[in-house]
Amino acid sequence: MSSNRRILRLNVNGQPREVLARDADTLLDVLREECELTGTKRGCDLGTCGCCTVQIDGEPVLSCLTLAAEVEGRDIITVEGLRDGERFAPLQEAWAEAGASQCGFCTPGFLMAADRLLRDNPDPDRQEIREALAGNLCRCTGYVKIVDAVERCAAEHRAFCVARGRTVAPSEQV
C-alpha cells in the first residue's frame, strides 16, 4: 500500500511547525525525526516505560502511542520547552541537585510528568509523587532521589512564594 502522508501543522514549545508525516507516524516519530527534538526518548515504544512523555494541552501523554495527526492544532510541550531560555527550569535544577539522573534516559519523561503534578498539586507528599510517577520507569536510580527531587522543587517553590508574598507558577520561579 502506498504511504498516506499529509502536512501537519503542529504547535511545539510555542512554535508553529509544518511537517510532512505519514498518517501512521506517532508524535514521537515526528518530534524526534522531523522536528529534531531528541530530548523526548524512545524507550519501549509500547507504553511500558514513560520515556516518551510530553505534554499536550498541559496533560502528560505518551508520544509513542499518540498518532501525530491526532494532535494537530494542540499545544505540545517537550522537555526542551520546560527550560526558560538559557536557564533550566526549577524542576530541572532540583533534579540535578538531588542526583536524580544517572544515565538520564528516563529523565525527560519523569520531568514532564512531575511538572504536571506540581502544577496540580504544589505540595505533594511522597506517596502522591510516587503515584503520579507510576508510569515512568528508571533503570538506574532506584527512585528515591527522583522523589527527593520533586519534593525539593516543591519545597523551594513554596519558599519562593512565601518570599514573594504570593503564589506564582513554578515556571516563573527563575
Binding site: M1, S2, S3, N4, R22, D23, A24, D25, T26, D29, D45, L46, G47, T48, G50, T53, E59, P60, V61, L62, L65, T66, L67, A69, E70, A113, E131, A132, A134, G135, N136
Partner: protein, 327 residues
C-alpha cells in the same frame, strides 16, 4: 518500531463515522490507541483504514447516569458524579495501566480491549519463530489445539466486571440507529470474534447505568504482579444490594470476573448463594472456593494458571468482605 502504513480518518460526527465505515470494508476504530497501536506496531491484524473516535462530541456527552465511551480513564477516575453514583468504577479505573496511559485510554477502548495471549502479543519475528497463533497468522491455537478450535486468548479489561456489577447497559450506534444491550450479554466466548452481536459500522457511544445503580455496593479486586503497568491476571467484582442498609441481609447480588476467560463473565449461580444471607467470613470463603473451582484460566499470561485459579478464591473472598461497611 513504526506503525505500519494506514489511512487515518478524523470524523467529527457519528454520521461521518458511518459514511467512512460504509466506504471502507476493512477498518479499525481508534480510541486512545493504547491497545490498538501496540498491536499495530507488532503487526497484529493491521487494517488499512483507521477511523479515529477522538473528535466526536457524541462520544463525550454525559447525561444523568451515563458514561460516555470517549471519556478517558483519567476523566473517569476523577469524575465527582461517578464517585457519587458508582464509586467502584473510578476506583477500578485508577488501577488500570499507568497514570500516563490513563490520560489517553478511553472507556470504550477499555471495554473493547483486544483479548491477550502469550502467543499473540509478541513481535512478528517471535511469532514466526514459534508457529504464531490462531488469532494472528496460524491456523491452530497453540494454547489449546483442538480441531475446529476457538481462540482462548484472555480478556483483560478491568472495567467490564465492575460495570457488570452495577448492571450497566451498553448503547451502540450504527447506520441503522442506536440500540442497547446489557453489558453482560455484549461479549462472545471466542477470543477472535469477541462480541455477541456486533453489526457492521457499529460503535459504542455510552454506557447507561440503571436507576438503582447507586443502591449497589460494588468492590473489585485485581491480581497483578506490580501495582502499576500490569494487566489483571485475575479480577473479581462483587456487587450487593442490601435489604435494610449496609451490612444487613443481601437482597440481590452479582459476581463478575475478568482475566479468567476470553470474556468478562457473570457468575449468576454463585451470586444467588449470597441472596438472603448476611455476609460473613465463612460464606465469603465458601463462595471463593466455588469460584476457584469454576474458573479455567489458560496457560497464556505471565502467571501460572494454577496460581491464578487459587487466587480466584482469595480475590472473591476479599471482594465479598470488602462490601461490608466495616471493611
Amino acid at each position: 518500531m513504526r506503525v505500519p502504513d494506514l489511512q487515518l480518518h478524523r470524523p467529527t460526527s457519528l454520521d461521518e463515522v458511518f459514511a467512512a465505515t460504509q466506504r471502507h470494508g476493512e477498518y479499525d476504530l481508534l480510541g486512545g490507541g493504547t491497545d490498538l497501536l501496540c498491536n499495530y506496531k507488532w503487526r497484529l491484524n493491521v487494517r488499512p483504514q483507521v477511523i479515529s473516535l477522538r473528535h466526536l462530541p457524541e462520544l463525550r456527552e454525559e447525561l444523568g447516569g451515563a458514561l460516555a465511551a470517549g471519556r478517558t480513564l483519567y476523566e473517569v477516575e476523577h469524575c465527582s458524579i461517578l464517585q457519587e453514583l458508582c464509586p467502584e468504577v473510578p476506583r477500578a479505573a485508577s488501577k488500570i495501566a499507568t497514570p500516563l496511559i490513563r490520560r489517553s485510554a478511553t472507556l470504550g477502548g477499555n471495554l473493547h480491549l483486544d483479548t491477550r495471549c502469550w502467543h499473540f502479543n509478541q513481535t512478528a519475528e517471535w511469532r514466526m519463530a514459534h508457529d504464531s497463533c490462531l488469532k494472528a497468522e496460524a491456523d491452530q491455537c497453540r494454547v489449546q489445539p483442538v480441531p475446529g478450535d476457538v481462540c482462548v486468548a484472555t480478556y483483560s479489561g478491568d472495567l467490564a466486571p465492575v460495570l457488570m456489577g452495577y448492571g450497566a447497559i451498553a448503547v451502540v450506534a450504527g447506520p441503522e440507529g442506536e440500540r442497547s444491550v446489557a453489558l453482560k450479554d455484549y461479549f462472545a466466548l471466542d477470543g477472535i470474534r469477541r462480541f455477541a452481536d456486533r453489526r457492521s459500522g457499529e460503535l459504542m457511544v455510552r454506557l447507561d447505568l440503571p436507576q438503582d445503580a447507586s443502591e449497589w455496593t460494588v468492590r473489585y479486586e485485581k491480581l497483578r504482579l506490580r501495582a502499576t503497568f500490569d494487566f489483571p491476571e485475575g479480577g473479581v467484582a462483587v456487587a450487593v444490594r442490601w435489604t435494610d442498609g449496609p451490612g444487613s441481609e443481601v437482597a440481590a447480588a452479582r459476581i463478575a470476573t475478568t482475566a479468567y476467560d476470553s470474556i468478562p463473565r457473570l457468575h449468576e449461580d454463585l451470586a444467588a448463594r449470597l441472596v438472603g444471607r448476611c455476609i460473613e467470613e465463612e460464606l465469603a470463603e465458601e463462595l471463593g472456593a466455588s469460584l476457584r473451582d469454576q474458573v479455567r484460566p489458560m496457560k497464556n499470561t505471565s502467571m501460572s494458571p494454577a496460581y491464578r485459579k487459587k487466587m480466584a478464591r482469595v480475590l472473591c473472598k476479599r471482594a465479598i468482605l470488602a462490601c461490608l461497611p466495616s471493611s
